[in-house]
Amino acid sequence: MDDEEIRIGVDTGGTFTDVIMQGSNGSVRVHKLLSTPGDPSRAIGDGVRAVFEKRETMGGEVIHGTTVATNALLERQGGKVAFVTTEGFEDLLWMRRQNRPELYALNIELPSALVDEGVCFGVRERLDAEGEVIEALSDEAVEQVVGEVAAVDPDAVVICLLHSYANREHEERLAAAFRSSGRDWHVTASTEVTATFREYERASTTTVNGYVGPVMGRYLQRLGERLKDVDRLEVLQSHGGRADAGHAARLPVHTVLSGPAGGVVGAVETAKSLSVEQVISFDMGGTSTDVSLADGEATLTDEGQIGGMPLQVPVIDIYTVGAGGGSIAYVDAGGALRVGPRSAGADPGPAAYGRGGSQPTVTDAHVVLGSLRPEQFLGGRMKLDVEAAGAAVDKLGEKLGTSRPETARGILDVADAAMARAIKVISLERGHDPRGYALVAFGGAGGLHACRLAQALEMSTVVVPSFPGLLSAVGMLRSDPRRLYSRTVLRPVRECLDSPGQQEVREVMRPAEERACREMGEPEPELNWTVSLRYQGQSYAISVDVDWGADKTAWTDPSPAFEREHDRLYGYIAEGRPIELVDLRLEARRSGAGWSGAKATEHVSDGEIEGEMMTIDLGAGPTPVEVIARAALSEGAEVPGPAVITEYSGTSIVLDGWSATVESGHLLIQNQGTS
């Protein structure tokens, strides 16, 4: 046992901190404890010690998903940032993209800037779009701006110069000067975060890094002290890979969307253990629903945003819609039934919680129809008030002229329509047919809606993972060490194909490659290249893989692959039009193969599955169905629909015509007509 390797996933949520430990021999231990929002590291330290309880020594690696940076940003609790840019662009962070977020709002509300107006400094220097120096950066200018920044005494310094993606020298000299000034500043040059063009997006992303940097640094230091007995501490990144704590402290901007990323990685890995690669993850919570599409791997985007600010770093492409279990149903001014985006939240919560909520929610509709069992909610910890739910639904029914069950069914149909539209955005709009994908459902209400949604979208497979309430922590456990880099090139692809052209392109990526290998250590990471291309004149580029050949010196022309993809996405090929190489992207990754194969804990069965009967309304009026406790299902067990499967963290509905089987501990629910 002593040579067993240990890996621990830790997810800090608003209410609970989830800890899951897995040994290389396949053993699993889980622990759930209350979070300690004042200092999240306290619950983590306690939780990790708890899972080591029966062992003599602590060790192994901890992979942590943290919302410390996210919260610092959203609550505006970050550090004081000095912003340094090219002279003439000091107001860059206020210029944004000049559009307003809501087309028809008379009071235009823009997110407040992270930097004060008085601490933005212009430096005399200028590059052109090719990176050629128009005005050199003088030593005097460097010295002067370091002095000006020192006078305002910030916590962090952010540098973003115009066209620095094409030539980093000026930014590097400034960064070096700030770092050697003898002050304790968190210094970020924009090209250390993202070396791609579009100055506002790059400046905003870099500013987020500087803003959350000091907070994240202090937090990781505290956490490191609490976990001094483990061998290694890693942090989940918004792109679903992980990086060491030092990297996370230096570039915390990569963690601000890591919360939802853990769930998506967990969903993708769950599906993989069932040999399913095409996945739409579906995380339905109290106020909103997150959906994301994966083809063997989560889809990334560099057009992410948080709190209205763009993030030009790779993040998992997650689409959020304001419909969840707590979403309030109402009748609009024209007489149509609407659900969300207003939510009853956790307090007072849905009417059924009996805490004074009186407006009907999605959860109340489920209670009325019988799909949530009042005495078994949260394992019986909270009893649901059926009468209050019914009364709330009735109020709406009076306005609509519908009966209680009709109203409740309507609420679910409308919520489903909003969620189906979200799934269309990430699938059809991006050129993927949802019918070829499995819906992996988690979050409090995921299992209640998954079958219905799959049916509406003609999808034939639904997966409800084991430990649905711990899926994010599972995702952390399964994540790979990974770095992603991109560099803007902006050259016609035909100029990059001959031998000198290839050499030049190769050189653009050399520093990133060396940095990845240096930082990630042994064993050497695999390096995967993609390029993004577009027809000259377009703005949106399409990523295609690059084949660098065995000796990694020559690559084949990516243009045919680009045209195929363009045709698939947009329905046409612009014949004869030159193709432009926009960005080079490098992924450095060490796959954690050998771990994901381990099975989740065996479930114990007491022989025959025998469910209780209950009456629920699945859309066609009250129907008697079997209610089965998930804990009673052993590997290979089969449950034909209609049925309801309950567990501590959620309820799954198996519709008529569908059938659930337990595979690798997960519930695999398939449409009998198509499978």
Binding site: F89, W94, Q98, E102, A105, D332, L400, Q538, Y572
Partner: protein, 522 residues
């Protein structure tokens, strides 16, 4: 149709219109379309009433239905046809906006839905690059296309007319691709749902009408008037009145522009379609944001115009910039009247001009190939009861993005030297108007510049005792240091070493200053 199905179908139609928009934005070539998003996509029923529109550009709200109506009237469409048009006097707005209308047909080949998209092309010919010239007739503004079936002949004509034919070819392909996507998705839904789709479209329009009627019913009944001016037409006619008399009664509104000035020599005239759009936009802002965007709510608002006025021009009056400038003033006038009905809701005037700038010349970096660049520059928004205005944002009839400086300098042979807030330009008051923008450009090769701006003499009005925002300024600073003030509308040549500086208006302030104290936007 019951209230539940209504909502299910609303999502369905809206997601199709949005998907069309994604195809157009991502695969197009003009910065106007792909970066600035000056386009819109919509679905219409067989009678050309809008069923769904992706939220894009307000100026297209009321004008695309007229395009579809004109296309239907001119061409008997069958499956596979696309009708193209841009004629402001036959369903268009101004010539750079090219619209495609395509039918979705039933089993007998009869159109039952139409999909349409409109996109702003960077150059369609005319006397100056960018096709927003200081013109005296529409004939000087570029190629004029009455509704006709799309074929290689009209494609060649458009390419011939444009200074940038390759970019045009790409954008036209993207526009057709967007309509095809809409047709495919609607056809799939028709196969799946049959005639329900048709009755759903009607039900959604009726729903939206009830929605707007209930919004209007909540407003006090009465009549209010407001007048404001366009400063000039570029040819010496000044103080061109836009006048609105609004009557609200029993869930309906009548907006009468009959007392507006006669049409003028310069290109600030608009076809009626633009006036309708600007009016609908203002009312749309009063309704809950959940109001579905379709033709139903438009039934509650009647717009009256007189032929031959600046708000309902007749051919061959020039209209190039009416779409972008006069539309803003129409909005200001409608809000000015509504502020008397709803003083607790309506803000002071915003920037009131899109600060249109067109730069053209030969790109020495690309072997002297001609280029045409167009952009609009944001300003300040008006303060309102309880809120300060926002700075450096596009307001009312436009919401286009800026072109990133790094993208601009990659594509065009001039540089941006300064881009920042114009501090102190917002009108003061209990609530402060938002600040405008200062943007300056440096040229190292000769270029022709066209500025088409408004609010250069008098700033956007304040309300409830608040001050007006500062008017804008256009200047050229010559290489030898000579500083030339430009007119609000002017064509000017620049040489190597010259600079252009545009300062945009701030928004109006709201409310009187109490003891000299104002709330500050922090």
């Amino acid at each position: 149709m019951n209230p539940i199905e209504l909502e299910v179908f609303r999502h369905l139609f809206a997601s199709i219109a949005e998907e069309m928009g994604v195809v157009l934005m991502r695969s197009s070539f003009s910065p106007n379309i792909k970066e600035r998003r000056d386009f819109s996509c919509a679905i219409f029923d067989a009678s050309a009433e809008m069923v769904a529109q992706a939220a894009h550009i307000p100026v297209h709200l009321g004008s695309t239905p007229m395009s579809v109506a004109a296309a239907r009237q001119a061409v008997e469409m069958s499956s596979g046809d696309h009708v193209v048009l841009n004629d402001p006097y036959a369903g268009g707005t101004h010539l750079p906006d090219i619209t495609f209308v395509s039918p979705v047909c039933d089993g007998e080949g009869k159109p039952i839905f139409y999909v349409a998209n409109r996109a702003h092309h960077a150059d369609v010919g005319g006397k100056t690059p960018g096709s927003l010239p200081l013109s005296k007739s529409i004939d000087e503004e570029g190629i004029r296309i009455s509704p006709r079936r799309w074929d290689s002949e009209i494609e060649e004509q458009i390419l011939d007319a444009s200074r940038t034919p390759e970019e045009r070819r790409g954008d036209l392909m993207a526009q057709i691709a967007a309509n095809r996507r809409g047709i495919d998705r609607l056809s799939e839904e028709l196969r799946r749902r049959g005639d329900t789709l048709l009755s759903a479209a009607t039900a959604l329009q009726d729903h939206s009408e009830r929605f707007m009627a209930s919004t209007l019913e909540e407003m006090p009944d009465g009549s209010w008037s407001f007048e404001d001016q366009l400063e000039d037409d570029g040819f010496g006619t000044e103080s061109i009145a836009i006048h609105a008399d609004i009557t609200i009664e029993g869930g309906r509104a009548v907006v009468d522009f009959s007392d507006s000035a006669p049409q003028v020599t310069g290109p600030v005239n608009v076809p009626r379609a633009v006036t309708v759009s600007a009016t609908l936009y203002a009312f749309r802002c009063l309704a809950d944001r959940q109001l579905p965007s379709n033709g139903g709510y438009m039934r509650c608002i009647e717009v009256l115009t007189d032929k031959g006025t600046v708000v309902d021009a007749e051919a061959p009056a020039p209209v190039a910039i009416g779409n972008v400038e006069t539309s803003q003033r129409i909005t200001d006038v409608v809000f000015g009247a509504l502020a008397q009905a709803l003083p607790e809701r309506i803000p002071a005037a915003s920037c009131g001009t899109m600060n249109n700038l067109t730069i053209g010349g030969d790109d020495v970096r690309r072997g002297g190939q001609p280029y045409a660049y167009y952009e609009t520059i944001a300003g300040g928004s008006g303060a309102g009861p309880g809120f300060d205005g926002a700075s450096a944002v596009h307001t009312h009839m436009t919401n286009t993005l800026n072109t990133p400086v790094e993208a601009l300098e990659h594509a065009y042979p001039f540089r941006v030297e300064r881009y920042g807030l114009r501090r102190g330009s917002g009108g003061s008051g209990r609530y402060r108007g938002g600040d405008g923008v200062i943007r300056s450009y440096f040229f190292d090769t000769p270029a022709t510049i066209t500025v088409m701006t408004e609010r250069r003499a008098v700033g956007p009005y304040g309300l409830a005792g608040g001050d007006a925002g500062k008017p804008g300024v256009n200047r050229v600073i010559r290489a030898d240091g000579v500083d030339e003030n430009l007119a609000a509308k002017q064509v000017v040549d620049v040489e190597a070493g010259d600079r252009l500086v545009i300062e945009t208006p701030g928004g109006g302030g709201w409310g009187e200053l109490k003891n000299g104290v104002e709330s500050r936007d922090c």
